[in-house]
């Protein structure tokens, strides 16, 4: 892999909530190379959105480092961040709430062009409208007058209008139904090809992620527990949590008998993260050594997991410590 475009190193993010500390992120490290699409999956409450908001610096992380193109912007002030924001954009989950209800589409799309002083904004406006496959007739409408799919296309157009290099997609297809989901994913892939974009694609929907991502990160309780190439993770999930997640994907064939792996109880509160492996209290395979923090074990090329079952066994069939 070439030098990463985005690098997140040991990021933690804590909030105070009614006197207790919520550990939303617990040392997340990841890299995204230029032109890559990296998927980030995990159940709700695992810190996906907190990570997204930290990366675009709507939040200030508690510790750790954020680097874009080698520049550390973890502690940049608003004024300096505004330059970064030309390159690093985000698409929110629900465009109904993420687009100003009283602005017209035209105004929404022109704003990033004006803010980042893109030359010939009118030309770029019609160009970006073409790119997201919206008719010029939507320009005079407000978000409330559009369909759900059109709204998300407007949100995507607004994010890519000033030609960013990196886009965080925070569950971009979660607010629309299945048929529109497919066309949005196709659009996102097309945009990536044409504009040379790099994506961090956040989702709780594994089947969506499988079709668009080169690499996958699996998050649990504010931590990355497994990462690797998408096929590799799907073919040989190493962390027990990943296996549980994969076994829960619905298969659209009534003849197929699914064997769902059991998972115990509810995710623990992020105010009281378990010691050692965070998945330990819900894991059927938990053993004594899981009470200690688990290192990453290499499962395959670029594929590693923080689970004792991913470690090399005496017979040598699983992996070696990374």
């Amino acid at each position: 892999m070439t030098a990463p475009l985005l690098e997140v190193a040991d990021l933690t993010c804590e909030f105070r909530d009614r006197g207790r500390t919520v550990h939303a992120l617990n040392g997340v490290s990841l890299t995204v190379g230029a032109g890559e699409t990296v998927g980030l999956v995990g159940e709700s409450g695992c810190g996906k959105s907190t990570l997204a908001r930290s990366i675009v610096r709507l939040l200030v992380p508690t510790s750790g480092r954020l680097l874009f193109d080698g520049q550390d912007y973890t502690r940049w002030g608003e004024r300096r961040l505004r330059r970064l924001r030309k390159d690093v954009q985000i698409v929110f989950q629900d465009p109904m709430t993420a687009l100003n209800p009283s602005w017209t589409v035209r105004r929404l799309l022109l704003e990033p062009l004006v803010l980042h002083r893109v030359g010939e904004p009118e030309r770029r406006l019609s160009q970006v409208l073409d790119e997201v496959e919206l008719p010029a007739s939507v320009l005079g409408r407000r978000p409330g007058q559009l369909s759900g799919g059109q709204r998300q296309r407007v949100a995507i157009a607004r994010a890519i209008a000033a030609r960013p290099r990196f886009v965080v997609l925070d569950e971009p297809t979660a607010s629309v139904d299945m048929s529109i989901r497919a066309s949005l994913l196709r659009l996102l892939r097309k945009l990536q090809r044409e504009e040379g974009l790099t994506y961090l694609f956040i989702s709780h929907d594994l089947s969506t992620v499988r079709h668009i991502c080169d690499r996958l990160l699996v998050m649990y309780l504010g931590r990355v527990v497994e990462e690797g190439r998408t096929e590799s993770v799907f073919d040989r999930p190493a962390h027990v949590y990943t296996r549980v997640l994969l076994s829960a994907i619905p298969v659209p064939d009534p003849a197929v008998r699914r064997r769902r792996l059991p998972i115990l109880g509810e995710p623990p509160s992020p105010t009281a993260i378990p010691t050692g492996c965070p998945f330990r209290p819900r894991c059927q395979m938990a053993a004594g050594e899981c009470e200690r923090p688990q290192p990453f074990y290499e499962v395959g090329p670029g594929h590693r997991a923080a689970c004792r079952l991913a470690r090399v066994e005496p017979s040598g069939e699983a992996g070696t410590p990374a």
Partner: protein, 286 residues
């Protein structure tokens, strides 16, 4: 042929996009129009000079020569009510303009910035609001001296806190909205987020308040003048006119006070109705 004759089905339950103006809006606008016509007429071609005294025609009852009669000094009450319309509406507009602009901006700043700015603003607002508006205005004119400008300042100070409170509250909830985060993520500086993104969605309560403030400030301005702490007597202002005519009511010359008093009532009524109409027009919006 059945198809040819078919009419489109009536669409039930789809509200028309632009609702017609309600009754309160129509009545409010109607009264306001009458007052503005009165003022324009008085300014362009008054029946009589509102300041010209005439010892020969003191306290004449309403009749053909003087439609609203004359006062103690023989001045034409109708002309004075007309001239008062201009002054009182101007005072109301100035008060509302000043308190609206100052209040909305300070409220938006406090609500968006939070922290110590919010604390300071809220304490000042609480102090001002702990006085009844009229008593506060009374005290300020007593200190500043009575002139039209000081009356405007006094009443504006008393009403600004309402705009601060309303706008602060609206901004406080709007700034948590996703579109505020989106605006920041796209590269907006804070002032643009507040002024261009948040305020337009937070302004309706302040507009309603502005309409009510128009009415109340007319009431307060004329009240101050009635008590001798507002506009000075020969000036044709409704409160002054009511005050000057007050002693005549006992002796039966009711018209010197009742007509300017009626003007005050109608003006306040019209602005209250308009406020109600603005609220009804914008509230159900999502």
């Amino acid at each position: 042929m059945a198809v040819q004759g078919a009419r489109p089905l009536p669409i039930v339950g789809v509200p028309s996009r632009r609702r017609r103006l309600g009754v309160s809006a129509l009545v409010g606008l109607g009264i306001l129009a009458v007052l503005i016509v009165l003022w324009a007429w008085g300014a362009l071609a008054p029946p009589r000079d509102p300041l010209a005294t005439d010892p020969a025609s003191q306290l004449l009852p309403p009749g053909p020569g003087h439609l609203m009669g004359t006062d103690t000094y023989g001045r034409d009450v109708l002309s004075r009510v007309m001239a008062g319309a201009g002054l009182d509406l101007a005072i109301a507009a100035s008060v509302t303009g000043v308190s609206f602009v100052v209040g909305v901006l300070v409220g938006a700043l406090a609500g968006y910035h939070g922290g110590w700015i919010d604390d300071v603003v809220l304490r000042v607002v609480d102090v001002i609001l702990s006085f009844p508006a009229f008593v506060l205005a009374l005290a300020i004119t007593a200190v500043l001296g009575n002139s039209v400008r000081n009356v405007v300042i006094a009443i504006a100070v008393a009403y600004t806190p309402y705009f601060v409170r309303l706008t602060r509250g609206e901004i406080l909830s709007a700034r948590r909205a996703d579109y505020a985060d989106n605006a920041r993520a796209i590269g907006n500086p804070s002032w643009r987020i507040v002024l261009l993104h948040l305020l337009p969605n937070c302004i309706v309560p302040a507009l309603v308040q502005a309409s009510l403030t128009m009415g109340w400030s007319i009431l307060d301005a004329s009240g101050l003048s009635f008590l001798g702490l507002g506009i000075k007597p020969p000036t044709p202002e409704w409160g002054v006119e009511v005050g000057e005519g007050a002693s005549n009511i006992v002796s039966g010359e009711w018209w010197t006070s009742v007509f300017p008093g009626l003007a005050i009532t109608l003006a306040v009524l019209s602005f209250n109705l308009l406020g109600e109409a603005i609220q009804a027009r914008f509230r159900p919006r999502r």
